[in-house]
């Protein structure tokens, strides 16, 4: 691997990207930071309040609740989607017509606009017009996601699993495809059981992809807004008000720009920190080849 040549003129090539992303990201973020340290009584009059909003936020029960719900949600969906995704990827055929069938059907949920995903499950879970709701009621289960927090959580979780497991599957499948056929042949010759093949050949070689999958799923589930919002609106009450939903409520609903801004910054920092932790932990347990 020869070393890449140093060439500072390369900055011209990255300039468009830098400008664009700076425009899309840096400027808005600066505005947010700006708001987070000021207070306004309207009419564009601002006064400095320093870290007041931050201190309020970190003591706020409302924030703690939303954060707690968010962590719980992300943890549950990760714990379901990752093992399920791995199992499905391993079960997928390695060649033949089945591959295309699986790919297309798995990819489908990923390409549905998120509000439509919400709509689909909003309907699906209803007792009067939805297959899921109707069937559950026929089994005697009292299922009402607009009134019962547990039902709401159930609906939101199963929706996310339905929506995003495919991403884990496709990523893991790509990783599996990279395993040369000879490894399977050698395992057969060695008399290895199906489980041994999974444990000693497939799983180790999926590590890199799994890292990407887990990181992506963690980040996206932590930022989730549209789908649960369409289904439950954050309710009943506050029971499914995750961080993004709570933030948008505050930023748009009320006129508390300051607190909303402070929450935004803290929110972003939490994701950055946790992603970094995930990444470091997972790459350090990975052996270098």
């Amino acid at each position: 691997m020869n070393l890449k040549p140093v060439n500072n003129k390369a900055w011209w090539m990255v300039l468009p990207v830098v400008v664009l992303v700076a425009f899309s990201a840096v400027i808005p973020l600066m505005t947010v930071v700006n708001y987070s340290v000021q207070d306004t009584f309207g009419n564009n009059v601002f006064s400095w309040v320093g870290t007041d909003w931050y201190r309020d936020l970190l003591r706020s029960e409302r924030f703690h609740d939303a954060l707690g719900r968010q962590f719980l949600f992300s943890a549950i969906v990760l714990l379901i989607e990752v093992p399920l995704g791995i199992a499905l990827a391993v079960a997928m055929p390695r060649r033949g017509w089945g591959v295309a069938v699986c790919m297309v059907t798995f990819a489908l949920p990923l390409l549905i606009p998120w509000n439509v995903v919400g709509t689909i499950w909003q309907v699906f879970g209803r007792v009067d017009i939805g297959l899921l709701g109707h069937t559950l009621r026929n089994f005697g289960i009292d299922y009402n996601y607009t009134q019962d927090p547990l039902a709401a959580w159930f609906t939101v979780i199963i929706m996310d699993v339905w929506h995003w497991t495919s991403l884990v599957v496709l990523l893991c499948y790509a990783g599996l495809q990279a395993i040369p056929e000879q490894f399977y042949a050698a395992a057969r010759i060695d008399g290895a059981s199906r489980w041994a093949v999974f444990r000693y050949i497939q799983l180790p070689r999926m590590r890199r992809v799994l890292l990407i999958a887990i990181l992506l799923r963690f980040m996206d589930s932590f930022m989730i807004y549209t789908e649960p919002f369409v289904v439950t609106g954050g309710g009943p009450g506050n029971s499914t008000t995750f961080l993004s939903i709570d933030l948008v409520k505050q930023a748009v609903g009320s006129f508390d720009i300051g607190p909303a801004a402070a929450m935004s910054i803290v929110y972003f920092l939490i994701i950055l920190l946790l992603s970094w932790v995930f990444y470091t932990v997972m790459t350090s347990t990975r052996e270098r080849s």
């Binding site: 050698a186 057969r188 010759i189 000693y200 052996e287």
Partner: protein, 366 residues
């Protein structure tokens, strides 16, 4: 231990093959003696890997039978054939130690712990892996990993044959010879049939007792290295073996003589009573052409002389037919005119690539 018989084996990767061209392996019969060291030699795509996989069971042949010691194993899956196979790149279990890698096949077969330990240590000693037994297989060099692959085959006491599919491909050049010698030594010490697939003639000729040369799905010749060199039964064998390969030039046959570039050349085979059909060619190795400055022989023009140390190769032209001639390093070559004489014992006649035997010559067993 087993003698392996291939009976009328042919294989096509297409579900409905039309005609011989669709076959990756054209029909063949072969007997692999117990304990022999064989090389399957040929260029890419000649069918050698397919043949290897037919023996190991990774490929079930479209037709024919595979017999181990007379038992039909054609339908038997690989894991029941007691075969070990080593692939082009090391296939090891990264997360296990070297010890665990070697023990794996025995563990899966339910062998007792102390027996596993004995076998593993014995094989590790044979392969010089004793020092690394406790290390994770992951961090070792490519040649050590290949040795582990070989080792996993050797630990099984009941292994019938070890099949190598171009095992030195990813090994560093300066370690290739070392690994090759170790494999040869292994064969010498153990009494196991070994089949070694390669496209490198040096590897084949040094490793094997018998070489099977393959070309376009066909076995074109089987023999000891000496035979392949002196008596190539197919132009491909002549061309592929030896460096430089055999000279193959078109000719015609008249009255029991071959006409090459307008010159009459005596070839015993040309006196065959049956009229010869197909593309006719003369084959002779550069080693068996004598070059002299003047005197008897066919006149040639010297185009170039390459000095390769112990010998020289002269590129000459007989009329406009190019030939390579091997000349001793001490020979003095003046000017660009010379004469060549063909050694009649090593001048062969080929029709459509296959050798035409001289009348009275009993066909050599294949």
């Amino acid at each position: 231990m087993a003698r392996i018989t291939l009976e009328n084996i042919a294989h096509s990767y297409r579900p409905k093959p039309n005609g011989l061209d669709d076959y990756a392996l054209k029909p063949l019969n072969h007997l692999w003696e117990h304990g022999g060291a064989y090389a399957l030699l040929g260029p890419s795509g000649c069918g050698k890997t397919t043949l290897l996989n037919v023996i190991s069971g990774l490929v079930t042949p479209s037709q024919g039978r595979v017999l181990f010691d007379g038992n039909d194993v054609t339908l038997l899956p690989t894991e029941k054939r007691n075969i070990a196979q080593v692939f082009q790149f090391p296939v090891i279990y990264d997360t296990m130690t070297v010890y665990e890698n070697l023990a794996f096949p025995l563990k899966n077969r339910g062998v007792a712990r102390h027996e596993i330990d004995r076998r593993v240590r014995e094989v590790a000693r044979m392969l010089d892996l004793e020092a690394s037994l406790a290390r994770k297989a992951h961090g070792l060099t490519a040649d050590a990993k290949q040795k582990i692959s070989v080792g996993r085959g050797l630990v099984r006491v009941d292994v019938n044959a070890i099949l190598f599919d171009e095992p030195l491909t990813v090994i560093d050049p300066h370690l290739k010879w070392q690994l090759r010698s170790q494999l040869k030594q292994l064969h010498h010490d153990l009494d196991i049939t070994m089949v070694y697939v390669t496209h490198d003639q040096t590897e084949a000729l040094t490793f094997a007792d018998k070489v099977i040369v393959m070309f376009q799905g066909e076995v074109v010749q089987v023999g000891v290295p000496q035979e392949l060199f002196e008596h190539p039964r197919h132009t491909f064998v002549g061309y592929f073996i030896g460096s430089p390969g055999m000279n193959v030039v078109p000719c015609t046959v008249e009255d029991g003589h071959a006409i090459v570039a307008g010159h009459r050349v005596a070839v015993k085979a040309a006196a065959a009573r049956t009229p010869l059909q197909g593309k006719l060619e003369i084959g002779i190795r550069p080693e068996f052409i004598a070059l002299s400055g003047n005197g008897a022989g066919l006149p040639v023009r010297i185009r170039r002389v390459s000095d390769l140390g112990r010998y020289k190769i002269a590129d000459v032209e007989l009329r406009d037919v190019p030939l390579k001639v091997m000349v001793s390093e001490r020979a003095v070559i003046d000017g660009d005119q010379a004469r060549i004489v063909f050694d009649p014992l090593h001048l062969h006649l080929y029709a459509d690539g296959h050798i035409v035997e001289e009348p009275g010559f009993e066909g050599a067993p294949s």
